[in-house]
């Protein structure tokens, strides 16, 4: 039934070399990090394993819908999970979709959710080594994101300073599911370091929570709801960072919101402005209307792109956000992958297409 779409031939202007801002590399097996971990933590991993804030070991409590949340066609013939095989990633995504630069977001076993802080630090460090050795060295089109154990900001600062020396690391990956909202002071050392080394913060939904339900009214029943909370959760983070005055304090800080869509952001800006107008005496450190900080400091990766019933309505949204603030992302190899050929159901001008698929990301990440 997909035949008419799949057979649609590429127009020359669609063969733009693109920057994909969300590609997930995965470990071939739980042992993949062994070469990068000290013996003490290898033994710990084997004996105790992960200690995260959820009821089940090694599986999500909202089971995904298709092939554990992966594209069914992305399982490597060589075995191992989707995203663990570079040749398949090249053949299936980087080559045919003309990916000039791919930004890695390494979610699994990165210590973001680990409660044992020393273990979390060791895992983050190992995942960053692993990205370099197994992905960046063999595939020069890829760039890495510095994975940090965000609830231990002092460790984050050390890892950021170490990794920033390698130009392959182009952003700092922080889990949005923190113990406290990301604007709170305990996280400021991370922003100070990010500003100092000139790298944006990349926020991508992570699996296990930071100790709080996915909504202000408790846990959702269905994955449909849990998936929706990727968007509403990010609203709280944007509001926290702005109302805490982060961008007055760190005026060069840039944040990219990944895998949470973007069409919700104009409404959030209006809502924050309206509330700020009434309540600004509570937050005197917020000098300007919140929407101005939103406009200046946040970028948005496009996947999963919103699909209005009338596709043209997306143009209104992007007009409000700014055509310079969206960066294309595919989410390869996850089930809700956005194919760059069919992501936009509206006609983009050449300038708009180039901006979203390439130039905005190059400017944001200084690629």
């Amino acid at each position: 039934m997909n035949a008419p779409v799949l057979e649609k031939s590429l127009q020359p202007q669609q063969r733009l070399a693109i920057v994909d801002c969300d590609i997930h590399p995965t470990h071939k097996s739980p042992a993949a990090l062994v070469p990068y971990l000290p013996a003490r933590w290898v033994e710990h991993a084997r004996t105790f394993g992960a200690h995260v804030r959820q009821g089940l070991v090694g599986q999500l409590t909202h089971p995904r819908m298709m092939a554990a949340g992966q594209r069914a066609d992305s399982y490597p013939a060589s075995g191992g999970p989707p995203g663990s095989d570079l040749p398949l990633m090249q053949k299936q995504h980087l080559d045919p979709n003309g990916v000039e630069i791919g930004m890695l977001v390494a979610l699994a076993r990165g210590g973001m959710e680990e409660q044992n802080q020393e273990f979390a630090a060791a895992l983050s460090h190992a995942v960053n080594d692993w990205q370099i050795e197994e992905w960046i060295r063999p595939e020069p089109r890829l760039r890495a994101g510095i994975v940090v154990p965000q609830d231990d900001p002092m460790t984050c600062v050390g890892e950021i300073e170490l990794r920033a020396q390698n130009p392959a690391f182009r952003q700092i990956i922080v889990s949005p599911r923190t113990s406290e909202p990301l604007g709170r002071r305990r996280y400021w050392p991370i922003y100070e370091a990010a500003e100092r080394v000139g790298l944006p913060i990349g926020l991508h939904p992570a699996g296990a929570s930071g100790g709080h339900p996915s909504t202000g009214s408790g846990w959702p029943t269905y994955y449909l709801q849990e998936h929706y909370s990727f968007e509403t959760g990010m609203q709280g983070i944007v509001a926290s960072m702005i109302f805490e005055g982060i961008f007055e304090r760190f005026p060069k800080l840039r944040v990219c919101m990944i895998e949470c869509g973007f069409s919700w952001t104009p409404a959030l800006g209006w809502r924050m402005d309206k509330a700020w107008e009434r309540m600004r005496k509570e937050v005197p450190h917020v000098k300007r209307p919140p929407s101005e900080y939103l406009r200046e400091h946040f970028w948005f990766a496009t996947q999963p792109i919103e699909e209005p019933e009338n596709p043209k309505h997306l143009v209104d949204i992007i007009d409000w956000i700014g055509w310079d603030k969206l960066v294309f992302s595919s989410d390869y190899p996850h089930w809700d992958f956005d194919d760059p050929r069919y992501t936009f159901k509206i006609n983009l001008t050449e300038k708009q297409r180039t901006a979203i698929f390439r130039e905005n990301a190059k400017a944001l990440y200084r690629l």
Partner: protein, 371 residues
Amino acid sequence: MKVPHGAIDCDIHPAVPDTRALLPYLDDYWRDQFVNRHIDRSAFTLMSYPPNSPLSCRPDWRPEQGLPGSDFAALKRDALDGFGTRYSICNVFHGAIALFNEDMAAALCAAVNDWTAKELLDRDPRLRASILVPLQSPALAAKEIERVAKDPRFVQVLMPVMADHLIGGRAYWPIYEAAEKHRLPVAVHAGSTFRHAPTYSGWTSYQVEDYVANGAAFENMLVSFIAEGVFQKYPSLKLVCTESGVTWLPTLLWRVNKDWRGVRAEVPWIDRLPSDIVRERVRFTLQPLDVPKADAGVFLKTMEHIGSDRVFLFSTDYPHWHFDGEEVLPDGLPEDSLRRLLTENALETYPRLRGDDTLAGNPRPHDGALQ
């Protein structure tokens, strides 16, 4: 723009002046409890609406003494005569809903409802009200609906958007069964009982963040209603998002439609596009209207993105401070949409406002206090 006379205001907030005023509406046991434990000296003010906060009361509507909304003469002057409304629906959003003791919450909700009938509805024929329910116990909430629904001046059920659990969940269905039976829409109002952090990354620093977070809370609540199949289970139930804001709605429709296409096997009872379900079954009160002051076109665009002018209900949210002077309506609304917003949509939403309430044995409106 200014509102023409005869509108139906679907969200005003009279306040119980103090807890002592509720003592006559409590039974002997609870009156003793309240007096002996000095509970009657507590105000039961919700953390979501601190009385002196700028959002909680417009400066020129603030009474010289007492809680915002507690002065009946001022309410009559500012909210009813001031906007020339035909009906105004009183949402007495009382702190009873935040208690942990279910029985105490139920007794207090019942007292608030009886106080509302006597002290508000009996005093002005333009007033209608919502039934405050103890959400802590869906069984007791359903019982309260059964008790109060006999008075046709109560036109809907009132619940907070953030509580112990997402309210689409099956545990809450007895409430919806009772509401549907009595042709009462369910009004979900902004505010939290703070059983959980208002954001998924934890507890906020500032009250302004909490207020902003209500928008996301309404999204999650609505997705809960859709995903759980409440609209299929109760085919004539209507949901009224009250003080919710509405500019977040287009994104919700687009995202839920797309998510549903991807994961519909998980929720097979959803038998059509979620956006169609929302347009048919969910309504939104006007204030606060989260659009830039300088750009009236944004509301019109939002309406176009939603794809309907039937989902909006007029509200002032008196005495909360969302607008100044008489600038309660967005500019530039087409005549038809304005008429729908001001009266028709409300009459469609609330069977009990149409005066065609045919439930046997119901007293006519204005026949006196609830027995």
